[in-house]
Structures are given as structure tokens and as C-alpha cells.
Amino acid sequence: MTRHPSPALERQGGAVTTTAPPASPGRGRRRRREGRWAAWAFLAPVTIYLLLFYAYPLYRNVELSLRDYTVRSFVHGGAPFAGLDNYREILTNPTFGPALAHTVVFTVASLAFQFSIGLALAVFFHRHFPLSRTLRALFLVPWLLPLIVSASTWSWMLNSDAGVINAALGAVGIEPVNWLTSPQWSLASVTIANIWIGIPFNLVVLYSGLQAIPTALYEAAALDGASGWQRFWRVTFPLLRPVSAITLLLGFIYTVKVFDIIWIMTRGGPTDSSTTFATWSYRLGFGNLLPAFGPGAAVGNLLIIMALISGLLFIRTQRRQAS
């Protein structure tokens, strides 16, 4: 060993194992090849998983939307290629305009309220007063409930005739409102329910973001004579920006595809007044005795594209802010 001080061996001792000893190039190549196989073997599960559970369903959905499927050709194959016919059908459908508008209103209103209420509560609970833990835990309840439970509860509470909300309004002398059964109110009702369900998520993420802000900064700001309001806008808000950004992105992806709440509460009705792309896609594909797979998949793909574009735009603005 001392006669042949091989650099490779030394490096091996230093935990670098990839370089082959120059004395035996054949063995080294084999080892390198083995290393590559090992790398592939480690990569394989996740690749297969991605292909099987993400790429293939996505491909099938695109394929469904580009062919003219009937129930017969869905089972026996041979659906003719229809190009963008399904998309054309969707775009000219009288439901398209309202569904797009409702999706935008529902998503923007939900995000704005969820985020601002969530942030206000996070700042509130950040002060650590007696019982703050218990109260904070109570705020998580909407998040823990299965959606079918919370949506059904909301629809009972908002019932025109027997609902507790109309009873409360009646007690203070306000005329009952047909929350779920009038075209003017149905979208607002499902949005309110969705805001309530989304607040805990915003609260939890923003609260943990607040804990990452060093208290020294607040002390310094206080010494400089900053008011509570100034401390929030000059210290908390800017430092919370990365966390806020991810909260809003996740919130967006989640909200744009919300289906269960709307379906359980109003079925997208009455007459499309609370239909979003998510419920419309479901209604086309599954909500009828005779499923329309092609148009249903086309609407689903539009939803995916909306999420994709917003995600990319979001990441771009975030990167610009960072640099």
C-alpha cells in the first residue's frame, strides 16, 4: 500500500467513491455503469408513479376531449377524431359565459376574503393571550370536517323556509332571503360557505409564517416609535410575502376546482346561476343518464389550463419580486 499511493484509494478514504483507480479502467467503467443503473433504479418508482398516475390520466383526458365519444364508442372504441369540435361546442354553449364569470367571481372573492380574514386572525392569535391556543384550535374545525358534512350543514342553515339564518334575519325584522333557490343569491351563498371552509388553512399557514419573523424586528420598530398599524404594514406584511404567495397559490389551485360544496348546496343551480367550470364539467360527464364525455373532458381541460397559466404567471411575478 505504501509503495503504491493510489489517489483513488485516498479519495475513497475521503468519501469520494466515483473516481476509478487509473490502474484498472475496465472495472471502473463497470462500476460507473452500475452507478448509473442504481440511479435509474432510484428514479424508476417516482417516474413510473408520475407516468401512471399523472401523465396517463392527463393524456386520456386530452384524448377524450379531442374525439367525438358516444357511449358506444366509449366502450367499444373507434371514436372518430373530432379535432377541436368539443371545444367549439363548449365555447358556443350558452353555459360557457356564465360558468366562466362564476368561476372567476367565486375564486377571486373566496381568495380575497379567506386570505384577509385568515391573516387578521393569524395576527390576532400571534399575541398569545390566555386561551389563544384553544380558540385557535376551534378555528380549525371547518378544516377537519368532511366537505359533505360542512356543505350539507350550510345548505340546512341557508334553507329558505326552515333555515336558521332566515330565522335569525326574521328575528331582527328582515325579510327571508332565498339563499340557495334564487339566481341572485346562490353564487354568493356557495362563496360564503367556501370562504368559511378556507379560513383555517390560511390561518394555519400564515400563523406559522408569522412565527418565523424575529421578534427583535418588532422590538426595533417599537423603539423607533412605529405604531401597531405601521408595524403590520412595514414589518409583518413584507416579511410574510413569500408565505402569503404560496398560500394564495395553493388557495387558488384549490378554489378554482371546488366542486363538492357547490354541487351539494345548489347543484350549480338554479339555472346555472352558481355553475362553475368544475360543476359544469361534472354535469356533462356524470350528471346525466347519458354522459357527454368529450365536452366534459374539454371543460376539465380548460380548468387545467386556467390553473396552469395562473400558476406560471404567479411564479413569474414572484421571481421578479425576489430579484
Partner: protein
Amino acid sequence: MKTSARTRRAIGAALVAVAVAGGPAACSSAADDDSSSAGSGSGTYAIWDPYPQFSDDSEWVKLLRGCGTAAGVTVERTGFDTTDLTNKALLAAQQDNSPDVLIIDNPVISTLAEAGVLTTTEETKLDISAMEPNLIAAGQLGGKTYGVPIGANTLALYYNKDLLTAAGVDVNSVTDWPSLTAALAKVKAAGKKGITFSAIGTEEGSFQFLPWFWGSGAQLTTLDSPQSVAALTLWTDWLGQGYAPNSVINNTQTTSWQEFASGDYAFSENGTWQLANAEKLGFAYGIIPIPGRTGGTAPAPTGGEFVSIPVQGRTERYATSQKLVSCLTSADNLLTTDTTLSYVAPVAAVQAKQVAADPKLKVWVEAVGAAKGRTSDNLGTKYPKISEPLWTAMQAALSGSKSPQEALTAAQAAASSATN
């Protein structure tokens, strides 16, 4: 280097967004695990039914097992939610994994027949001669029959005896629409609520509207006829005058039943399947058939399931499947099954036995006799394309966004363009 890594990360994040948002895709392409048993082992036969409420120790499952034993095979039964079963059956057929016997809601038969998923009763030599013609019609398409009805249910009006007596209404006076509306007015004047039904924006809503639609003489091929407008106007006026609650627009048949069970409502349009719950009501109840516009019993739509034999790659399995279906639909077993499900039997002789055992069923047997399949009259898969505009019109008129005439004119336009 830095930018490309960033781009990659951006695309990665975007893909995650896509994956999270791609809901419907996953449903439509996932293969079904439960069905793998269908093609395997000649001694095991798969039966799918829409009765998830029955567990393995229920009478229904015992009957299925018994029929299997009689045919010399083992039965593997899976109960699905009824709204799930259409797509499950289509997907299974796509994978050539269909169950040997499929029990499915009657209006779905035409969809599955259209898809080429079901065998005809000629092919599998099933005897359908004893079945009532108006019930089996829902399973017939182009002169061929695709299944055997296992039982039927339909709609009628449950009424609250105590409440009607208190309001001074004689239920025997309710024979047509004007007398029904007059009864509702009296109930309202007595400070109670009139009638509850389900006008939800799904097939369930159309199902509940059809007795009034047909009872006025309207045809599904012409949604904007004066008769059809009269039927929708009847409902709209009930809402306008406060005889029916505004919540009907969002009511399922279950929520509408809950309203009736509260004891505040005089009438409820509901089905045979509520009979067991009706016994638990805190007041005396009765049942009358839904009146036609000018009297008589209105034809209500038939509900209930058909037993069918899906197409198999291995046609030699049909012989055993045929034995299973014949066993399930034999007179004795029909009596057991329809009593369990609280359905009316599709065979006159068995209906007579049911009425003998429970005289309360008489009104239901009559209602089923007057009932009509939604996909009958050779409408087949046109029915779903008519039903959706119909329930949309119903919702538009009841929520006040359109007049009944406007709503139904729009519905007819939508139905014409969808069916042609």
C-alpha cells in the same frame, strides 16, 4: 444554468398545479379493481346491484347466494351507489370486465343498450312473458328487450290525515288539479303548509315533475305545448301563492320527505320506498294517487331496477347467468325481494299476493299500473337529452327567472338541437 433550473422548477410547480386540478380525468380512466373477479374462475359469478344499504347478512344477499347455490356457482356480490353504477358499468365494459349480472335503474338500460353493454333477452333466452308491459317497456329499445324488471316503484301523494282534518279538508274531494289547489288553499288558510316535492336540477326533479306533465296530457317530444305550460304553471303558482315552500327548488326527494315528516305539510309527493319511513311518522298518514289535470290518475314515471346480463367475452357464461336471473325474477323470489325493497312486483300474480299481505299497497299497485317508463315510447337515449332541458326550465320558472312559457320554449329549442 440558474435560469434553466428555475424554469424547470417553474414547470414542475405548474405540473403539480395541473395534477391537483385534473379531477375528472382520474375518474374517467381508472381501471376498476372490483371487477377483476368477473372474468376469473368459472365457478364465481359477479353480481352488481345498486343497494349498498344491504349488508352481507341481509335477506337480499342471502337470496343472491341461494340463487348461486341453485345454479351450482358461487356468487360474488358488490353493492354500488346508484348514481355511481352507470359509469362503473361503462368502464367495466370498456375493460371487458363486466359483471355477469347487473341490476340497474331502469332509465339507464337504454344508455347501456346503446353502448352495446347489454345482451338482449332473446340472446340469453330469458322469459319475460309474465312481466307487465308498461314496466318492461323501459327496458325495450328498437323492438328488443335488454333486461327483466325486478320491481317497480312510482310516485303518489302522501297526506297528513291529522292536519287535513284540522283544516277541514276531505281528502276524497281531491280528484283533479283545481280541487287539489283548493285543498292547499284551505290548509294555508288554517296556518299550515300545503305541499312539498322535489324540483331539484337533476334527473330527480324531472322524475317528480313528470306525473304533472303527463297528467296534463303533455308529451316529452313537445316540451312547449300548452299542456306542458299548464303543468309548470301549476307548480309555479303553488310557489307564488305560498302553497309550496320555496325550498322545493333545492329539495331532493329525501329532504322533501323530511319536510313532510316535520308534520307541517299537508301533502308530499314521494315514492313507494318511503313506506317504511311512513310507519315511523308521528301522525296518521294516507296515500292518494297523483290526480290528472281533469281527474283520474296521472301516469307517474316508473322507478325501480332491471336485472340484465352484460355482454361477456366468454359467451358460455350466459347459460349460468340466465339461471341466476330467472331465479331472482321467479314469482316466489320476487315476492321476497320486492317486500325487502318495498317495491311493487312487476308481475300481476305477485302484485295480488302483495296486496293480500298488506292492503296498504293497493294504491301503489294501481299507481304502478298507470305508470309509464321515462325511456318508453322508443325515446331511449333521447330521454336524457329531453330531461335536462326540462329540469332546467322547471328551475328557471320556479326561481322566477323566466315565465313557464318562456322557460319551456327555451327547453324545447335545447331538446330539439340535442336530439337531432
